[in-house]
Subunit: 312 residues, 2 copies
Amino acid sequence: MDIKLDIVQSHQRISPYIHRTPILTSLMVNDLSGAELFFKCENFQKMGAFKMRGATNAILQLSDEQKQKGVVTHSSGNFAQALALSAKSLGIKAYIVMPSNSPEVKKKAVKGYDGIITECEPTLEDRERTAAQIQQEKGATFVHPYNDFNVILGNASVGKELLEEYPDLDLIIVPVGGGGLISGVALSAISFSNKCKVIGAEPYNVDDAYRSLQSGKIEYNQTTDTIADGLKTLLGDITFNIIKNHVEKIIRVTEEEIVEAMQLIWERMKIIVEPSAAVTLAAVLKSKQEFKNKKVGIVLSGGNVDLKKLPF
Amino acid sequence: MDIKLDIVQSHQRISPYIHRTPILTSLMVNDLSGAELFFKCENFQKMGAFKMRGATNAILQLSDEQKQKGVVTHSSGNFAQALALSAKSLGIKAYIVMPSNSPEVKKKAVKGYDGIITECEPTLEDRERTAAQIQQEKGATFVHPYNDFNVILGNASVGKELLEEYPDLDLIIVPVGGGGLISGVALSAISFSNKCKVIGAEPYNVDDAYRSLQSGKIEYNQTTDTIADGLKTLLGDITFNIIKNHVEKIIRVTEEEIVEAMQLIWERMKIIVEPSAAVTLAAVLKSKQEFKNKKVGIVLSGGNVDLKKLPF
C-alpha cells in the first residue's frame, strides 16, 4: 500500500470540489510566540471547515449504486455540514444524525445544504443506533466522520498543501478530536517531508487522546465540558493507530488558554476561527521553549461559531 | 503633474512598510449579490486598516529636520494608529490628538505603538485647536488624516493593487468618510483602467458626501449617529474636488443594512471587518440591479472592532 500515492490521488480527486485555502502569517503573532508560524486557514474552506476534504473524498469513492441510495453519518457539527454539502454538489442524498444539543447554527447550516436531519440523544450509543437504523431503512452508505480511511486520506491534503508551500516546516500542530485530521496530516508529513513532525493540541477537559497515547489503548472522557465543541469525540481504532505511530506528542491546554488564543487570532489576524481551531496556537504559546525559532504549520481547522455566543 | 507616476512612486516608496493585502472571493456572496465580487482585504493591513498606506507615504516625504521633530494628527481611530505605527517603525515621534469618546480599543492600540496621546473634546474645532497647539509647542509637522495629497497618493495603492490583479474590474466600491480612501482609489482607477468606475458607500445617518455631491459644496452632518465610526468625518477641499470629478455616485445604506452586511462577511467569509468596511457590501446588496453580472472590487477598509461590543 502506497500511502503517498493514495494521498496524491485523493488530493487530485477532491481538488475540483474544495478550496485550496490560503496560508497566512502574522509578524505580530510570530513576535509573541518566538516561532515562525504558518496558519493554514481551513476556516476559509467550503462550509467553514477542513471536514469538506474528507467527506468529499469518501463520497467520490462510492459506486454508482451506492450514490443512488445516499449517505448517512452522525456528527455533532462540521462533518454533518460537510457531508451534506458534498452530497448536494454531487446530487446525492445525505441523511444526518445530529445530537439534539448541537448548536442551532450548525443544524441550520445542514438544512441549508439540503441535509436530511434526524435528531438523537447526545450519546455515542444513540448516535450509532440511529444511524444504523437509517442505513438499514434507506440502504444509505454510512460514512464515519473520522474513523474512515478515505476520510483520513481526504484530510491529508491539508498537510500536503502546507508542505507544498513550505517544504521546510519543522512541525505542524493540529487539533485532536476524533483524530481524523491529525492522522491525515501525519500521513502527509511522513510522505512529503523527511523532518517535519506532527504535534497534537487538545483541551485538558477532553484529553482522551493524550491519555490514550499514555496508556496505549483508546481512553474515554468522563465529561465533555469544553468550549472546543469539535474536539469532544473519541479516537477510533484507525485514527488511534496512525496517531500512535506518527504523532510526536499531544499538548494539552486549558479553557482560558483556548479563549485567549482565539481572541488573539480574531483581534490580531482579523480572521474568525472556532475554539477547536485555537487550541493549536494556545499550545504554541504555552510551550514557547519547544517551538522557539522553529517553522511551525498551524492548522486552523474551522471557523463555524455562533456569533451570538462568543466567549469574550 | 503626472498622477499616474505619482501613484507608482508612492506605491514603491511605501511597499517595504505595508502588506500587499490579499483579495478574497466568495462564491456564496457572489450568488447572493448576482455580481462577481473581489474583496480587497485592508482589514489584514498592518494595524488593521488601509490608513497605514497614506500615513506611511506622508511620513516618508518629510525632510530629515521635520522627521526629527515628529508628526502630529487628530483622528478618532484608525489614522491615529496608522501614524503612530508608521512613525514608530521609522523611529520618529507621533503626537496623536484623540476625541475623549474614541473607542477604548483604539486608544490602547495607539499607546501600543508608542503614540503620544492628547485627549480633546469630540468636536472638529477642539481637535484642530489641540493639534495646532502641539504643532507650535513641539515643532511637529501636522499630517491630516485624509485632506493631504501625500496621504491620498498612499491610499491610491489600494486601487492600484486591485487593478493589477483584476485589470478588468467594472467598478470599485469604497466607503466614504473624509474621502481620503475613495479619492485615492478614484485616481488609481483613471490611471490604471480605461473603464473602471468608482462608487462610494455611505451611511444615511452621515450622508454628508452624498449631499455635497448634490449641492456642489461641502456639506455637514447634523448628527453622527452611525455604527460606522470611521465614516463620521467630513470631506476636505482636496478630497471633495477629486470625488466631484472622478467618483460616479454615492450609494447610501441604513444602519440595519450595514449590520446585516457585516454579519454576512463575518459568517460566510470568516473574516473580521469593521462596520465602516461593511457599508460597501451593503451598498451592493441594496442595489443589485446596478451591479448585476459586473466585476466589482470591494474595498474592505479595516477590521478594528471592539469584540466586546458587537452589533449582533
